[in-house]
Symmetry: D2
Subunit: 296 residues, 4 copies
């Protein structure tokens, strides 16, 4: 099976490397060509544009930052849809809106191509190690076809629906859940700290008892340290995902009161110049509102 | 060391049984005397009132439902303060308000008695098995004195502060955190379910990947099943803890936006007759707001 | 000055009629042609499409339901921009998004045409009576040019900015303010009614003392009566305006906590089939949450 | 009818003066005796304690700052209940909790005394001019008896219920409504100002069109000016009233989402040292969150 991989950011680079290490036939493409070098070193072919990447491919993966980048790479006149052969499959791994995922599904269907949404959970290290969790949705036969590739990328694939955009919905809901963990830790820490409890000790208590989970440890640790740079996942990206979750809620008519609060937290951070911070910096705002922290 | 245990509800009974099994000299007291039987069978002496329980005791534990019960048992004319000998220690394990914990501290100090707040995390099964997590605060020497007893009750004791009420604050903040888990799962499930994803499958995905934690599994499972009876921890108790967390936030001047939303959830449940439900029934309200569930 | 008026809904019909009664040279256009009849009876010429309406016009007013309708009427290949002569002015009175208003400004600028945003406050009766409040923004000279026409339409014109979209921002913020009045009345009425106070009497008290304002009387009366049909301004329109206000807040990085709550109220109403209700039906949800009203 | 007036703060002094000017037989009492002087100059007798004020009185008014002050003045061993003769009436005008109002009702009933709750709307100037709005609740015959006195104090009396505490509920709900006006103006102004609209001009627009009401003008003006000192009604008092409204909502099981937001606003202000500000300073926080204002 001839495979192409478009988008070699922190996540995509690791994923493409896994495919290379599995001795698959991989062509890679990235807008900034220097990021293709390490993959070529691992045996990939480098393409100079999307058209070249798609030429002859059976499966094209894309892993890009946001709706704008995916729309450009997939639906523009120089995009995947134009160059992918009928019958081949586009596996979109990016975290994108429900609306765009549905537009991709329709566009590929019209062009006689397959389309799967397979967003992922996990950080760059998990991507590099082939340890991601994959959330797949779309036609069952297509999933079967690409399953061997997905097995290379992740430790488990969850097939959630025949409707591709449902995988995106699950991904957005998952990021929403993570953001609620951050906010709730921020509030709880502000409360106990203002009462006189040391927040590092408090976090150790939580994460060695009822909240013994990397999510709570990692984000809790960053909040306790007040250290939000360098960003693993920056504020504008976190804000985007909450925005997309809210947009999905609006489309589906589902009120999401916790998401509203997250929305305002991100706006406040950005209004005060927090774009370069890790998204878990929203967990510092409760302490700030309580008068515990130096002002922005 | 002569020990007394007052309050043999689902939690207290298990804790007292642990002390008995450890071959300690234990006197128990409960308002409904029939609940003392199993403990007597384990070797405890049964007292017919608080005064009798306190007679000669070096350490008195209390584990009661709420502020009203604790105030009656500890501060009334027939309460612990009246009958505990100077130098003996009252270990209060109940989940109570900061204000009452501070009143207890002051009252015992005046009476020349010791006071520790040692609220616990864990369910009745953990209490029965001596596997609780204990959060202790108060004078360090007193903690040292009772530590052997605490070791019988729990798998670990976290000493968080010299100020007893800080243990209560930590306990309240912990229950707040659990409630945020419930609400966020309720919102996320409503969102994906209305989009067409099966909520049991969704929960399995979450709890076998990023949210692999009993808390998410247990409460998520109840929400997915829509089964909130019989209550392990009933709505009025959950509401009480959120109310006390908010009261602590008000006292300490810490805004808690997530807690506000939880507050309204509990009010809505109670206004619709949900008093007998498990507190995680608040996790069903997002689905109801989204038009997914039959109305109350 | 030759004038055209596009969009003869409940608001536009009244506004166009004012222009006719002022003996101005008016051409009208509406997609459903039967709505042009009453205007023709008042002396207007009827056009059979936007092109014909624009032919020779010095000023074209548009008053349409939403972004989609305005985009179609103004920016499509059969829209105002294509047919308006250079130097003529498009006066957009619709309640639209900041983004579309800025797109219109750019498009007309490129085409050498003038563009003013002049959204209005007031109900259909005020439109018919020439008693609207007009909020104008754009180039000062253009405002001056059309001022005599605006004087026919409204009792007062507020010029708020040189930037057209700022008039739309003011309009959206105004509708947001009205929606907060509705929600706050809904909450206050639910509270006092559940305590045993008659809500009609309560409203009379409010509106004859501190809240002596038609807004409070009218919306309060509908909430007290529980009568939300027929809709003067339907739920999806109210929702749209809150959505646009939130979108403006997101663009400008301004958290709007009250608007978040309004957002959820509209979603809940729509999820329960409330599309045909007047938007002030959100004022009934507090009572429903409190268990006072029959369920949806 | 022999009348006593207890509590000569800014409101009480004006009310008592009205009674004096109406040539009634008035005895006044205030803890700080110097505030009695101006009333004595108007013909009142000065009492040196509550007992003396109550001696021979047919009606005793009380107008005090909060629950603590009212409880001391009415229910303590040196309070009104001890000294008022059976059959005489206590008219409580203070803004107090539902719970205290019900405790007062019960205490006076037991003592064979009458009790009416008659909280007022209006500022000190309205009190001095006899132009208050009075909200009365309690036994109808008692209201009839004191009506001539109420007519001296206010421009209108609204009798809302036979249950005294319902008047307090209405008062609390009214202050809640005023606070929502402040918050919504704060959000709207932050939004338009960040978009580039002058907030003074914006306020003039609002208050000369749809929001032509002193409430919007006065509070809007203070927010636009950013001038919150000296306080007409200080932050802790505003916070208290929102707290009492929330407490009433909790007791009656009525969720109040807008009130939750107000609650957090007051906490944030106080956490940053805003106790001496006028309560409408909460209207500045939206702008601060949006990065528009200098930090606290």
């Amino acid at each position: 099976m001839k495979t192409a991989f478009i988008g070699l950011g922190r996540m995509g680079a690791g994923m493409a490397a896994c495919l290379c290490r599995a001795k698959l036939d991989v062509t890679v493409y990235n807008r900034s060509p220097e990021r293709m070098q390490p993959l070529v070193a691992l045996g990939a072919k480098g393409a100079s544009n999307v058209a070249e990447a798609c030429a002859g491919a059976d499966v094209v993966f894309s892993m890009l930052a946001d709706d704008v980048a995916v729309e450009e790479a997939a639906l523009s006149p120089v995009g995947i849809r134009e160059y992918l052969r009928p019958g081949a499959i586009h596996v979109s791994c990016s975290t994108i809106s429900i609306a765009l995922s549905e537009a991709l599904a329709a566009a590929h269907r019209e062009a006689g191509q397959g389309y799967l949404a397979v967003p992922v959970f996990g950080r760059p290290e998990a991507a590099a190690a082939g340890k991601l969790y994959l959330v797949a949705a779309g036609d069952g036969k297509l999933v079967e076809t690409v399953q061997p590739l997905l097995d290379v990328l992740g430790q488990r694939t969850y097939v959630v629906s025949e409707r591709p955009s449902n995988a995106n919905l699950v991904k957005l809901s998952g990021n929403f859940l993570i953001a609620t963990v951050i906010e709730s830790l921020g509030e709880a820490m502000a409360l106990v700290e203002k009462g006189g409890v040391n927040r590092h000790q408090y976090l150790e208590l939580l994460t060695s008892s009822l909240f013994n989970l990397p999510l709570y440890k990692n984000y809790g640790g960053m909040i306790a340290d007040g250290k939000f740079e360098p960003a693993g996942f920056a504020v504008p990206l976190g804000q985007k995902d909450v925005r997309l979750a809210l947009a999905a809620g609006e489309e589906l008519q589902v009120p999401l009161p916790f998401a509203n609060i997250l929305r305002d937290r991100f706006l406040e951070l950005r209004a005060h110049g927090g774009d370069q911070l890790d998204w878990c910096a929203i967990g510092s705002l409760a302490a700030r509102d309580a008068g515990l922290l130096p002002e922005h």
